[in-house]
Symmetry: C2
Subunit: 456 residues, 2 copies
């Protein structure tokens, strides 16, 4: 091992970020604004305030301030599980026989099991500050719902979670964690909303989708006094909060006197990737440093690598604003595989713009290859990774093996967003050798694209 580089680098609490970094301030081409689905005009703060908390709306629309203060109450909460460690993967390097240096920023050491808590606590804080009674949200794989339940328990807010029905049934333990934190969890689609009843009438046996759960949660938030809707990914405000990951990483690298060459993250809606790369991307945008950024998405839901850059609906019920993003179409239904939290049809507008500007690369990987990397990583580095995170592990290992071929001593950083303790059904399939891959055909994709709204 490098004598001066420990296995794990923690910042001191006094070194933790006091401001989030807003990458949009340094982007020459700003991400396209959200549009009102009726008027097709940019959403105003007033319109957004019906759905979202006021201060979060401000953050959503803020494309000019590079730094935004993190309130002390949020920083105190962060101290319960942050700073997260920047880990040097010595054992993995040795096992691969690579000259590359591999680092990962590990966000799984909290009960939500992922980075989602970084934004959940911020959103719950602003809801509480606004004097709200509670918030609504949707959850698919369950990390976001768990994180929000924890944040709401901390601030004494009510939390209503619409959980995609197939997950509700297949992941009863995720549901119980949320209930332990006092949240109410409803399988979606449900009879509790107009949109849910409509979908159930049209598709009686449906197992639900994220887009449908979003529609239900938004309907309840808008229709209930003292409630707002919160979302765990895709939005600019979420990437802002998640910048704490990248800021801590950057500070830790500076402490070590190191610098990554390649930064890799899994990408579903973009919350983790956006948060991890933001401050590094800022340096690149300002011409202070250069990095390769790689977004890794599942081959089963390839919004960046095979999607279109267009305005699209964020939800099935089409009640949300339109967002310009790399998308497969809101009607695209990825097959039931284990990409979990990465099975969303679109991608963060900010990341979409950066990708379109060729400031970031993207690759897609197949499920069985992802789980091979997950198992290898678990056995060597001792952490059982979430399926989502394992997409990044796959590409980090591939890049390290390229270095082995070329002899290059590159420094690789990847985001290890969470743990896989609630994903053992997927691991069991892999262990039993019955896991399969799925790659949508061009015809499958064409069906999704056909549903894209016409926006000039």
């Amino acid at each position: 091992m490098d004598k001066n580089i420990p296995y794990k680098t923690y910042l001191e609490e006094s070194e933790m970020p006091k401001q989030w970094y807003n990458v949009r301030a340094d982007m020459k081409n700003k991400p396209a604004p959200l549009l009102n689905p009726q008027t097709l005009k940019p959403m105003t703060a007033e319109e957004l305030g019906v759905v979202f908390c006021d201060e979060l709306v401000e953050q959503e629309l803020n494309t000019t301030d590079a730094y935004i203060d993190i309130p002390e109450e949020i920083r105190d909460f962060y101290k319960m599980y942050r700073p997260s460690p920047l880990v040097r993967a010595y054992c993995l390097e040795k096992a691969l026989g690579t000259p590359a240096k591999i680092y990962y920023k590990f966000e799984g050491n909290n009960t939500s099991g992922s980075h989602k808590l970084n934004s959940a606590i911020a959103q719950a804080y602003y809801a509480k500050k606004q004097g709200l009674k509670g918030v609504t949200t949707e959850t698919g794989a369950g990390q976001w719902g768990t994180a929000l339940s924890m944040a709401c328990a901390y601030f004494g807010l009510d939390c209503k979670v619409y959980m995609v029905k197939v997950s509700y049934e297949q992941k009863p333990f995720r549901r119980e964690v949320m209930r332990t934190y006092g949240a109410s969890v409803t399988p979606s689609p449900s009879e509790t909303t107009n949109v849910g009843r409509k979908i159930l009438a049209e598709h009686p046996g449906t197992s639900g989708s994220l887009g449908c759960a979003i529609s239900e949660a938004v309907e309840v938030a808008v229709g209930t006094e003292g409630y707002r809707y919160v979302l765990g990914s895709v939005l600019n405000q979420v990437l802002l909060h998640q910048s704490v990951i990248g800021l801590e990483s950057l500070a830790a690298f500076e402490k070590l006197g190191e610098k990554p060459d390649i930064i890799i993250g899994c990408a579903g809606g973009g919350s983790n990737l956006g948060g991890l790369i933001s401050p590094f991307m800022g340096q690149k945008l300002r011409g202070e440093a250069d990095y390769r950024f790689i977004a890794v998405e599942p081959a089963s839901c390839p919004s960046l690598t095979r999607g279109k850059y267009a305005y699209d609906y964020c939800d099935t019920g089409m009640v949300c604003p339109l967002a310009k993003m790399y998308t497969l179409g809101s009607g695209f239904i990825p097959s039931a595989n284990h990409a979990g939290g990465l099975r969303y049809h679109g991608m963060s507008s900010t990341l979409s713009q950066l990708y379109d500007d060729k400031l970031m690369e993207a690759v897609s990987v197949e499920q069985t290859k992802v789980f091979e990397a997950a198992q290898q990583f678990a056995r060597i580095e001792g952490i059982l990774p979430a399926p989502e995170s394992s997409h990044a592990i796959r590409v980090a290992i591939d890049e390290a093996l390229k270095c082995k071929e070329t002899g290059e001593e590159k420094t690789i950083l990847f985001g290890l967003t969470g743990t896989g303790y609630f994903d053992m059904v997927a691991y069991q399939k892999f262990n039993d050798g019955v896991m399969t891959d799925y790659i949508p055909t061009d015809d499958d994709l064409a069906k999704g694209f056909a549903g894209l709204p016409k926006v000039d």
Copy 2:
């Protein structure tokens, strides 16, 4: 918050212990030796070497060396998940309104989900060093089996786990974690051993017990070339390895300029409690400092508070050495509740002697009260605790509330041994309000005591 005390205190890697502490060296009354069940004479190193690895036998019998070097390979592995944080429970203190200072040493930030990995990696290391092919063990709740699977994967050892049948069936996800790490997992009792076949013939519908699984694992180890048996608790060697918990805690307190008044740990076989208190107990034994130590056990399996201090069998098949310990009798079957890893009929010989010498207190707590504390802790401190660990939380909260009454500013340290992610069936029962308590009657206990062997 105290300005000089952070939420979490981590040692630097360079400050991590390089030696384990062997509390027996400072004990005036040594723990009683293991006896050969045939001859009733103390087990020799040669006899123990049939079952256990040679160097572990040395550690088991060593009552004189206060410090034993931790091999560098083990220290390197420790660096992947240690040092564990010493956490100041500011949020819990505030919620309770107590003048007490509450600290916990959190051992759950690794994939085994508990402190068990501290000894698993040591035992796997010595097995590898001896040139063995593999090891066998039993697991009940699953933490130990998971930890050993991880350790064996790291050193490339085969790992055969006998898992109590009821757990095997109720905790398929624990099983899958072990399989992911390459272990073979067999429900016990099984047809793979003589003792298993005998028990199945006598009790066809049995759901198994820890004592039975131990017998099977020992039989396979003794009967298979290149294999030895390893155990995750009770033994002196395990307490030795677990002393890393207490050594880190002591070093962290010294760094902070603080000192605990009360040290609390849950107690099943004694591995966590013994490890946590060892170096503090050493100070007490040497007259350098004084502490109150409190062992917390489930009311359903009260070996210290209601057991007898006597020689007893460690396993159902009576193939293991006899140990002198506080015990409920090897035939005592605790009701199926959620004390999980605390459902063992006996207690570490070392802790039993310390308790008998009145150097340590013990209390028993009921299950629903334990889960009330668990839920409260989860919501306030953000960590979902294991049911086992929650026994310690219960008593830590009770002691803090006593301080609130008396106004005393005591400093409380408790061991948070692990997380409850694989215990959601128990949490669900609690959330649904259908959890029950169980306290054995004196008659229940008398049946267990009747099976105690006669040893002069």
